[in-house]
């Protein structure tokens, strides 16, 4: 069915809004239910294409390097990293906060936009949720490893140990353990729940016994019964309602790791909202980095339309501007507080030895996303892709600025220092990309990367009151009074 058919299905005597007020459809070219199933499922059916194998081998190579680096670090000690007094939190915590921030866009898209009834989320939510889960996996590596003696990690959890000491819940680091592990678990539950009906789609299409069995196992015997849908939709709504305060709390609690301390530059009340905005900002950057090339490679232009890209660019612009506001507010408060330590820290941030890092934070995060005010910039794909990468770089440097500049010149000038990463730091970081992309490539190969049943629900054919949904079109007589 073509776009013109969509128009002609509406009777001529109902006045149409002018062209510029027409909503751009969420699925382009008026495709129906069957087309959506076929298009999305075909990505995980048949032979894996060449591009998939090439990217998979590269990613898997990086993942192996990660395994090597982690073994080296565990067997030798944290001394293989560049962390050195006074900067005892280096790339490990920078990368932890960066990765976990990236995860936030997935939950924002899947939960907050669901509660706000933003129907465009259906085209991108599955891939974004997968991104969340894999990003949190990458993030989790760092706090687990940076403790040095990894074999004592279980002391973080409330499990009785031989010294009968319990975790100390007055520490924000303990709150973080609960926040991050809950975030991971709930994200997986939410993601899996969305996958149940879609795995049933793949089960019913499966040609081989093995695929039928595996997807059947995942689909848990889903039949599409409306009595089931009724409970399912309610549960989905509640999960969205639970994930919304969760996603806001996770990065808030991550920020409390810093702001509960007494270090100038960390000890500020603006941190929780500022971290959450930054997290969503970097997450949308990563969603765009992943989906802009994927929609072309997997021929999903009709499902992830230019409108989706446009809206995501607008969210990036909005959150980037909030981050910019937070940066300036930090400087204002440093001056307004009258605290010499605070003022020194911020002068040192902008003019000290790490000025290059500060500029790499401010320019990509605040200045560059402003180009998204222009429609032409939001509609040029290669340009959006480049900006999204710049945003990711900028957000990485934000964490670097907060952590490293915060630590390298503390209260005692005699203990000032300068942090440089070691080779192991750099290779571990590249290795986490290997983990992330290996997982993501496996995901798009074996699971539907677009929420099939949700997209079916937002096209006009799904609406029983729409002519394309089969509703009888009655000639409407204009009101006499009107």
């Amino acid at each position: 069915m073509s776009a013109t058919a969509t128009q002609s299905a509406v009777p001529a005597n109902i006045p149409q809004p002018p062209a510029e007020l027409q909503r751009i459809p969420l699925v382009a070219n008026g495709h129906g239910f069957g087309w959506i199933s076929d298009r999305v499922s075909s990505i995980c059916e048949g032979k894996a294409p060449l591009w998939w194998w090439i990217s998979f081998i590269i990613s898997f190579g990086c993942l192996c390097m990660l395994g090597f680096m982690l073994s080296w670090q565990i067997s030798t000690g944290v001394g293989v990293w560049g962390n050195m007094h006074p900067v005892m939190w280096g790339w490990d915590i920078v990368n932890f906060v960066w990765w976990i921030g990236i995860g936030h866009a997935g939950t924002l898209i899947s939960a907050i936009l669901f509660l706000l009834r933003q129907r465009w989320r259906t085209g991108v939510n599955r891939a974004a949720e997968a991104m969340t889960i894999f990003a949190v996996m990458c993030a989790g590596i760092y706090p687990a490893l940076h403790v040095g003696r990894v074999w004592y990690d279980w002391w973080l959890f409330p499990i009785p140990n031989s010294n009968s000491i319990w975790p100390q819940f007055r520490s924000p680091l303990m709150w973080d353990v609960f926040a991050v592990s809950t975030y991971f678990t709930v994200s997986v539950l939410f993601w899996y729940m969305g996958l149940i009906p879609d795995m049933a789609v793949l089960r019913d299409r499966a040609k081989s016994k093995l695929r039928q069995f595996m997807y059947g196992l995942g689909a848990l015997g889903w039949t599409g019964s409306n009595r089931h849908w009724s409970n399912y939709e309610k549960a989905y709504l509640i999960l969205a309602g639970l994930s919304t305060p969760l996603v806001l709390s996770v990065h808030s609690i991550v920020s409390l790791d810093f702001s509960v301390s007494q270090l100038p530059g960390w000890h500020t009340t603006i941190f929780p909202p500022y971290f959450v905005a930054g997290a969503v900002f970097s997450g949308f950057g990563m969603v765009l980095t992943l989906l802009v090339p994927l929609r072309s490679i997997c021929k999903l232009q009709d499902l992830i339309t230019m409108r989706h890209i446009d809206l995501m660019c607008k969210v990036t612009l909005a959150t980037g501007s909030i981050v910019g506001y937070a940066y300036s507010m930090e400087f204002f408060i440093a001056w307004y507080s009258g605290s010499p330590m605070e003022s020194f820290h911020f002068m040192n941030r902008a003019l000290g030895p790490y000025q290059w890092a500060w500029l790499l934070m401010v320019i990509p995060n605040v200045v560059v996303p402003q180009v998204f005010w222009f429609k032409k910039c939001r509609q040029t794909l290669w340009f959006v892709f480049i900006i999204s990468i710049i945003v990711n770089v900028g957000m990485w440097f934000e964490r670097f600025v907060i952590i490293v500049i915060g630590l390298h010149r503390d209260f005692l000038p005699s203990s000032w220092g300068y942090f440089s990463p070691s080779k192991v730091d750099i290779c571990t970081y590249i290795g986490t990309f290997g983990l992330f992309f290996t997982m993501f490539l496996l995901f798009i190969r074996f699971l539907p990367m677009i929420a099939i049943s949700e997209v079916k629900g937002v096209i006009p054919q799904a609406d029983p009151h729409h002519p394309l949904g089969g509703a009888k079109v009655e000639e409407r007589v204009p009101d006499d009074e009107g």
């Binding site: 239910f33 069957g34 199933s37 409330p158 009968s164 000491i165 319990w166 975790p167 100390q168 819940f169 007055r170 924000p172 303990m174 709150w175 609960f178 926040a179 809950t182 678990t185 709930v186 539950l189 939410f190 899996y192 729940m193 009906p197 049933a200 789609v201 089960r203 019913d204 299409r205 848990l220 015997g221 889903w222 039949t223 599409g224 019964s225 409306n226 009595r227 089931h228 849908w229 009724s230 409970n231 399912y232 939709e233 309610k234 549960a235 509640i238 999960l239 639970l242 994930s243 709390s249 609690i253 049943s453 079916k456 629900g457 054919q461 799904a462 029983p464 949904g469 089969g470 509703a471």
Partner: protein, 170 residues
């Protein structure tokens, strides 16, 4: 007896007719949740919320009690003169546990109410029914419904616009 429909509107009208005819053991199968179908089928509000609520309350209570018992009762340690137990520092972990248990409550409550996972369903063996996850809509009326009679039920479903009706043996 299963009846196939091709549009959301036709299956909705069929559901309204079946509801008004007073059937009890019947269901509608759709590839996506059709808006307004719960009303058309005469279903009540889902009970999943109770499971989530129960999970959330359990999570919060567990968190608060656990932290109080561990840090104030079983092994108290003085840190910076702070109170042994404060609801404020115990709140973030308890809050996370509220959400965690609430989320488990929703997912498992949904699965429990739907009696899933289910390894076998007679409908899933039918070739035609496999299209329910693709682009078709089905109304299914069970033969042991008191109102069921082969000829009349078929007539009802045909009048509602179904082109394909068949009886599936278990």
């Amino acid at each position: 007896m299963i009846a196939e429909y091709t549009t959301a509107a036709s299956v909705m009208h069929a559901a309204e007719k079946v509801r008004d005819a007073g059937f009890r053991k019947w269901d509608v199968f759709t590839p996506f949740p059709v808006h307004g179908m719960d009303h058309a089928m005469g279903l009540k509000n889902s009970k999943v919320g109770w499971f989530s609520f129960l999970g959330g309350v359990t999570g919060y209570t567990t968190g608060m009690l656990m932290i109080w018992w561990m840090n104030a009762l079983d092994y108290p340690i003085v840190v910076g003169g702070k109170p042994m137990f404060s609801p404020f520092s115990a709140f973030p972990p308890s809050y996370e546990l509220t959400i965690l248990f609430g989320a488990f409550g929703s997912l498992f409550g949904m699965l429990f109410l739907n009696r899933l996972p289910r390894l076998h369903h007679p409908l899933l063996k039918n070739k035609r029914f496999a299209l329910v996850t693709h682009d078709r809509f089905f109304v299914v009326i069970e033969c042991d419904d008191p109102k069921y009679s082969e000829a009349e039920t078929r007539k009802l479903l045909e009048e509602a616009g179904s082109r394909h009706i068949e009886v599936i043996e278990e």
